[in-house]
Symmetry: C2
Subunit: 130 residues, 2 copies
């Protein structure tokens, strides 16, 4: 599996893959005769896991820390779990905050709805609305 295939299967660009390798997020893969990277199926799992971490807003530095621990083998399992737990707790908090934002936006939208349908102006009428 070469880099373009791997890119297709993960949704990461080849450039990003090489970048992740440079900065130590991904282990350097084997090379074929021509010096091209050859990826293996289980690299996919790791890449997809990284993508999840990224999705949840984990900064690259933290992913690097995780990757370093992982490279050191099973002895670091507890440390990795702790890192993950800290990140998860942050994520929980962010989810709660976003849920609050969402409900506020719903309110705001409802307010606009009222203001638009009922003639002209809004309940809190100042002439200017956020």
């Amino acid at each position: 599996m070469q880099i373009s295939d791997f890119a297709r299967q993960t949704g990461l660009s080849a450039d990003t893959l090489r970048y992740y390798e440079r900065i130590g997020l991904m282990q350097p893969p084997l090379r074929d005769g021509g010096g091209r990277r050859v990826y293996r199926a289980r690299d996919l799992d790791w890449a997809r896991f990284l993508i999840r971490l990224r999705q949840t807003g984990m900064p690259i530095a933290e992913m690097q820390a995780y990757a370093r621990l992982r490279a050191q083998g099973d002895a670091t399992a507890a440390a990795r779990r702790d890192l993950l737990m800290r990140h998860r707790d942050g994520l929980r908090q962010r989810l709660a905050d976003l849920a609050e934002c969402l409900s506020l936006m719903d309110q705001k939208i409802a307010l606009y709805g009222a203001m638009i349908s009922s003639g002209k102006d809004a309940p809190d009428a100042t002439g200017h609305h956020s």
Copy 2:
């Protein structure tokens, strides 16, 4: 109320406030005799609303669009509501995605828990774990 007070009350830095003004997110406030900005209470509401939008990941360009509409008065209420609704829908989606990530992380953490307590290696034991 001058810029430092306003900054304290919103949590934005004075620099950020001037920046938001430059790029049209905030209306230029009045000035006192010495040319200093004088903010008014209702600017606070707007700034706090911007902060909410930012929290939910709205890009500045979109906030600018909203601000421009707002500056044009009540006639743009429907357009503003639509913008907000589109943003809210995106937010809903992101919340769902994050919730999924969260549950995956919980699983992963549980797996680490099992692996750590029960002697040595994990269920999917490859020798390497994500």
